[in-house]
Amino acid sequence: MGKFVIRRLAQAVMVVIAATILLFIGLFVLGDPFASSGDKVVPPATQEILRAKFGMDQSVPMQYLTYLGNLFTGDLGVDFDQRRPVADMLGQAVPATARLALVAIILDVIIGLVAGIIAAVWRYSFWDVLVTVLTTLAIGVPTFVIGIWLRQTVSGFWIFPQVPRTFTEVAPWYTEVLLPAITLAVIDAAFIARLMRGSMLEVLRADYIRTARAKGLGERTVIMKHAFRNSVIPVVTYVGISIGVLLGGAIITETIFQYNGVGYLLYKSILQNNNPVIMAITTFAVLVYVGLSMIVDILYAYLDPRIRLS
């Protein structure tokens, strides 16, 4: 197990370095952040001052090394637009997105697992058909359609705060997070339900389940204790990846619901060619993603000894 973890860790470090280099180069394709302001050309003298201010007068490899050096000391630089420390901006956005991701994941795991198990256990029943139809619909409808629809119909009623609203009307975080979390959970829950149904059906056909039944175990024990643990593996993978994606920010959903998370920050920064912020968020997303898929792999190895031995 120890050897497996070390090998997996080394892979992760290489992926992170390769990804940041690619991202850094990619930013220069986005265009010159200092060329224009609205419809007006920024005077050349001003452009020069701005470039010097933000260290863009150095060569690209030099800029990358500076960036990497600063990264290790936790310095993410200042943004091009408002000149605030990028660390402060992330410090505001990351907790908000983490809350959103957490609520969304809890919702979609609960809904997805229950729906998937029901559909598998009562295969071809009314409930199975219902789950199939609903998940097809949920996967087919794009997030922004669900989001805009929820914002127009549900926001402002019951415990869902109005969007948009005057900023002085503060809503507690757990009500503010609900609608965007539901929006995000719909598609994931559908995926999880389908995954769970599929793998559960496969497991239910396995010999050891027949043995368990033959031993005279109750149906509940067979399903929950023997079938569940084995069939939940693909769902664990999916949830791991999904958390990674959600922590990287839900651009469309956060923008629709005026939710100040990482996704909205990224959306704005891309529009502004705000390289330090884009770089910080994407690096953060890469770290989360690589970290989580590593944890998932290790978890796999724990759940299924065959993986760590191969």
Binding site: I49, Q82, R83, P164, I187, I241
Partner: protein, 568 residues
Amino acid sequence: MRKQAWLRAAAGLTAAALVLTACSQKSNEGTSGSNTGANEPSAGWPQTDVPELKPGKKGGTFKLAIVEPTAIDVYNAQESEGILVASHLFTGLTITTYDGKVEPGVADKWETNDDCTEWTFDLKTGTKFHNGEEVNAESFKRGWERVAAKDSASEVAYHMAGVEGFDEMQAGTATTLSGVDATDPAKLKVKLTEPDCEWYVRTSHTVFSPVPSTAGTPTSNPAFVEQPIGNGPFMMDGPWQHNVGIKLKRFDGYTIQDPAYLDSVEISITPNGAADEYAGYQNGQFDWARMPVPVLSQARAEYEPKGQWITRNTNGMNYLLVMVTEKPLDSAKARKAISMAIDRNAIINGVFKGSQTPSTSLVPPAFPDAYQPDVCTACEYNLDEAKKLAKEAGLTEGTKLNFQFNTGGGHEEWTAAVADQLKKNLGLEVDIKGLQFTDLLNNEQQPGASGIFRAAWGADYATPGNFLEPLLSTGAIGAKADEPVTGDNRGRYSNKKFDDLLADAKKEKDDAKRIDLYQQAEKIAIGDDLALIPLWNRTQHRLANADKFINLRMDFHEDPDLRVISIK
């Protein structure tokens, strides 16, 4: 990231599909009426009346939404949103009124020497910053030097170009503005490097605001940038909550003009601009809103009868930038042929549903003193004349015309309609391309660029010179023929007579005579040479809650004029 990429692609595709269908529909509409367009009355909704100011009463909270600005500190406030906050937190030497006139601010009066290179502003005494500190000449010098310093890296500092000592400060070789003398606290003296008889107009820009002695520099005192202390009719009520909101409250010690009526102003920051503002207005959250273009007609039908609708021609112009030194548009005849082959009314009715007004000048009607309604003789749709001129200019069937615009700004439909009309009316082979804004700009700047480009302009100060000079003067090319353009004259128009008239205007102290010189210059560049092709005036529409408030009007920056708004 996998799923997000997929979603973004899906969103993009859906949006593209919507635009494409809209395009084909709209461009059909755009050209269908073109045969009858010539003698139609000009399209567009009429302006609404500006309300006569009534005495208000103190109290009330005015609510509106904006998108997150770059800065609210005057050292770097730039777009309409930032200026909304900065211009109400600070009052400069002069103030630009809602109708583009310049009136006294902190300066009571001002005068200049014979050649307009030295300006003296007499300051009102006893006016205060929000922290109680007195505003004097030194406050202005301090504020200007804070902007001009290299370390501040202000993106709007260039408005001070021409003040003696500015270049040295930008280069980092000086720490004070040598041309600004504040030894007398009640007099501010400014030396310019070149004559400019209307320089005082610039001083109403927020970048020329005074700052208190506690301001420091933007890098040494970031707290001031987040919560500026100014001398304007409103003050910050707590620091700027990024991406959330900005709260202002009335400054009761304001003596520069009448104090404001409103107790407070709540400016919410939302991500989706006009769409959020409109939704928030509809659900009663905001008292002022812009609207997305597609809902304009519907919103107007609903709110105009209730007296909650504002339509004004504002400080700006939409036009086609023309590369005048490159074939096929290197002759005035060719440019006029293009201009006369565009049926502006049909596009305005078809694409914009009447929400714009066709333009026949470069200096827009928002500058009533200088506006010349018919200076562009070739801005009228006239197919026969267009064909005749095209023939004389060598624009024949199949002549290639490059036409580029920036995507994401709502320009897809009308540019498609213009391209369609040029194809249909003149037989040109129009190569239309949508690009990212930075790429568009880069293409425009390159030597050898040809054809037409989507463009718009708004003046920074209330003078017609701020349209003519940056867009069309030889100096504003800022490059040799084989180098990329560095100024805003990307069409590389150059005409000695035009340049001379502008130079004369800058040396002319008499307002009426100066405007006359500007008008002559515009006649040459637009009337004779048609150096760029005006399309429609900048027309802005707002919803304003007249049920609760009076004196609702749009200021020079298209923001609500918070100085005068009052509860009923």
